[in-house]
């Protein structure tokens, strides 16, 4: 079933995508499936384990289900040091 998801990008990801959010029609059922679908398209090229995901402004597990209407936020690695 096709879902309509708002995807938000930050920092490096936003610059790679060229915008801070977009509406995506997708078959992905989890956050990680959606990320995998988009990372190649946008050339994120970041170690996946260092990235994080939030759904509707709450940090979430990569395996979390996503629903039509969700806002999914992809966080590139933070600066740390």
């Amino acid at each position: 079933m096709v879902k309509s998801i708002k995807v938000s990008y930050f920092a490096l990801f936003r610059e790679k995508v060229g915008k801070s959010s977009e509406l995506i029609e997708t078959d992905a059922s989890t956050a990680i499936e959606l990320f995998k679908e988009l990372e190649g398209k946008h050339g994120f090229n970041q170690p996946f384990g260092h990235c994080k995901v939030a759904i509707n402004d709450e940090l979430a597990e990569w395996e979390s289900d996503i629903q039509s209407g969700d806002n999914v936020l992809f966080f590139p690695p933070v600066s740390g040091g």
Partner: protein
């Protein structure tokens, strides 16, 4: 936990932690330094996703209060454009004894740097710029 786009009023925030039971105050300030990884840095931009940065920052402070014998703790982080010498982040902790104050202060800044959705873009003297990547962010939280 606060995120602000103006200078951090460290005096005000440390005064707010004053407590007659406290014998120790430990603080940390992160300053914008003029070099990183061999590059000469001119200025720096912090991008913060505030809803989660604030929520997660408060969680870290609560964890510190539970883990260590401390009386109070706070953290303020800047967002936006910062110049060399500016204070980007401040952490202050009070405790009866200094061991707890030091350890909790260190805990808070370490966790803040790893867990908060805050990204740093460096602008170099040679005109280049780049997002700074995390060295320890592969750590399991």
């Amino acid at each position: 936990m606060l995120v602000t786009d103006s200078q951090i009023d460290i005096f005000h925030h440390s005064e707010a932690l004053r407590n007659n039971h406290a014998g120790a105050y430990s603080c940390f300030e992160g300053w914008i330094r003029d070099h990183n990884d061999g590059h000469e840095v001119e200025k720096l931009e912090y991008e913060v996703f505030e809803p989660i940065a604030i929520k997660e920052g408060k969680k870290i402070i609560n964890e510190a209060m539970e883990l260590y014998e401390i009386l109070g703790a706070n953290c303020i982080h800047r967002k936006g454009l910062l110049q060399i010498g500016d204070c980007a982040v401040w952490v202050g902790v009070t405790a009866a004894h200094r061991n707890d104050a030091f350890i909790a202060c260190r805990f808070i800044i370490d966790e803040v740097k790893i867990r908060l959705p805050i990204w740093k873009k460096e602008f170099y003297r040679n005109g280049d710029s780049g997002w700074v990547n995390c060295e320890n962010c592969g750590r399991k939280n």
